[in-house]
């Protein structure tokens, strides 16, 4: 699917970023083509979360370019970037714990364009995650880990999404729950929405990812088709500790 459909949805070039004096990203370049699902694999602490937080504007890049569609998003505030349709589902879910499931979802559609279609969007998310419909009046803090993750993804889908960025959706969940969640992510992918997903574990990306990047020490160490990377046990062992 890659390369079809013209210019990339997202193009990151030579991105540098970090926290204060500590540089975490040292020149990351990657792109997402229309309809593609891209997985960035890397060990903990090598910059996966920083990468997504920099793209969505929560952290200011120190150098490099981020282009979303035809827009240069450098210097834009996170809310403006979200308004363009670049949706970031953050690590740890960042739910509004004292708000109900329904209110959390409604906040996902905060931008005027999305709010105008609140009903349809809600229906779409409930179709994907029927559990959220059952729980809609509950406070978000009372949800189980799996439900929290579904709500976090669902809230992201409530927006005017043109690209969905997911930060370690499997983190802290039981294997059965991860399987279910990845099935849902597969459905989102099938709908044609481009996805940029970061994960520490390579176990569930085969069949989901169109291309994979390996992020190591703040730079892209390798890029390729998932089959090629997964067929290289030495590489997986070295970078990801998986035999």
């Amino acid at each position: 699917m890659s390369g079809i459909g013209g210019r990339p949805v997202l193009e990151v070039a030579g991105l540098h970023s970090g926290y204060g004096e500590t540089e975490v990203l040292r020149g990351v370049s990657l792109h997402v083509n229309p309809g593609e699902t891209i997985v960035v694999l890397g060990p903990n602490g090598h910059g996966k979360t920083t990468l997504l937080r920099t793209i969505s504007g929560l952290i200011r890049a120190t150098a490099g370019d981020v282009a979303f569609g035809s827009r240069d998003t450098r210097g834009l505030a996170p809310d403006e970037i979200a308004g363009l349709g670049l949706i970031h589902v953050p690590q740890g879910d960042l739910l509004y714990g004292e708000m109900t499931v329904l209110e959390n979802l409604k906040m996902g559609a905060y931008r005027a364009a999305a709010w105008a279609e609140l009903g349809e969007r809600l229906e779409r998310v409930y179709l994907l995650f029927p559990r959220l419909r059952e729980r809609q009046k509950q406070l978000a803090r009372t949800l189980s880990g799996g439900e929290r993750r579904m709500l976090s993804v669902g809230r992201g889908l409530m927006g005017n999404s043109a690209l969905l960025m997911l930060d370690e959706p499997s983190l802290g969940l039981a294997p059965v729950v991860i399987d279910e969640l990845y099935d849902r992510i597969g459905e989102i992918r099938a709908s044609g929405l481009p996805i940029l997903l970061v994960e520490e574990s390579a176990t569930r990306i085969e069949g989901l990812a169109d291309r994979v990047y390996l992020l190591e020490n703040g730079t892209i160490a390798r890029e390729g088709a998932p089959a090629d990377l997964l067929a290289d046990p030495a590489l997986l062992q070295t970078y990801l500790g998986i035999a």
Binding site: P78, A82, P90, Y96, E98, M99, Y110, A114
Partner: protein
């Protein structure tokens, strides 16, 4: 028996006013995590705006209340732009903002004194007339109106915060700023909205209090800002339900002290009460810890 009814009557009126004042503090604290100390002066400014509209121009009381809410709400946006926005996000800005808003508050109070003078002004009542119940209790329609206005404002606020798009965003920013950003909410604009809303609430509290006292002067806001703070901290900073409960408990407590011990004991008793409460429940009534709120 009749003295108890007097305590309840006075307590409810005070509670209705304190509730608005404390909601002003709590809304701003919830979203921005700092105590906006300009609210005392904005409380006074609200009373003077209503004094001009209803007392001097002779328009109906409702026009004075709405006018105070709107104009002081705009003044609150000004306070934000001048005293808060330049500090937001810098190290220690929550503490710095307490001091800068206190400073702006002093300037506002002095401006009020320059414009209207230091003397007491006569504030017209919203409605006049009494209803005598038994031999001690005389219910003034004026005070009933104060409680009603406060309830209407609080109900409207509740609908705004739970049903409207921007109200939802205010609560979202209070609970998780990064998430609100990622949902496309301009945190800066939400901060401005919160400052406007908080200032408007303080203004309405100021109008209501001055109609009860039937007079106003430039320093009236100080002691009531202090009571608003006591209620806010007692209720559990940032918690709306805790604040409402605290406002009426403090109102009743103050009425009780002034009926049974005398006026002079009100403030000492109030602070003794606060100290005891904070020793027992350091998080206040609602007892929300900082970790839970974020």
């Amino acid at each position: 028996m009749s003295q108890i009814s007097l305590v309840i009557y006075q307590g409810l009126v005070l509670g209705a006013i304190y509730a608005l004042m404390a909601l002003a503090f709590t809304l701003v604290y919830g979203a921005l995590r700092f105590l906006n100390l300009s609210l005392g002066a904005l409380f006074t400014l609200g009373a003077y705006v209503a004094f001009v509209i209803s007392g001097q121009l002779g328009l109906p009381a409702i026009a004075g209340i709405v006018g105070a809410f709107v104009l002081v709400g705009l003044a609150g946006v000004g306070v934000y732009q001048i005293a808060v926005r330049p500090l937001v996000g810098r190290p220690g800005w929550e503490i710095a903002s307490i001091i800068s808003t206190l400073g702006v508050g002093i300037v506002i109070q002095q401006l009020i004194q320059l414009v209207w003078g230091p003397r007491n002004q006569a504030m017209p009542e919203i409605v006049s007339g009494n209803l005598r119940v038994g031999d001690v209790l005389v219910i003034q329609y004026q005070r009933v109106a104060v409680v009603l206005v406060s309830l209407v404002v609080m109900t409207a606020l509740w609908f705004f915060l739970t049903r409207s798009r921007h109200g939802l965003a205010i609560r979202a920013v209070a609970q998780n700023r990064d998430a609100a950003y990622l949902n496309g909410a301009s945190v800066n604009r939400i901060f401005m909205l919160v400052m406007a809303l908080g200032s408007g609430l303080a203004a309405v509290a100021g109008v209501l209090l001055s109609t009860v006292l039937i007079s106003l002067n430039p320093t009236v806001g100080l002691s009531y800002a202090l009571r608003g703070l006591v209620v806010t901290i007692f209720g559990g900073l940032g918690s709306i339900t805790g604040t409402l409960a605290a406002a009426f408990i403090i109102g009743l407590f103050e009425a009780f002290v002034s009926v049974y011990l005398g006026e002079g004991w009100k403030l000492p008793a109030l602070f003794l009460f606060l100290i005891v409460v904070l020793v027992i429940r350091p998080g206040g009534l609602a007892g929300v810890s900082a970790e839970e709120r974020t």
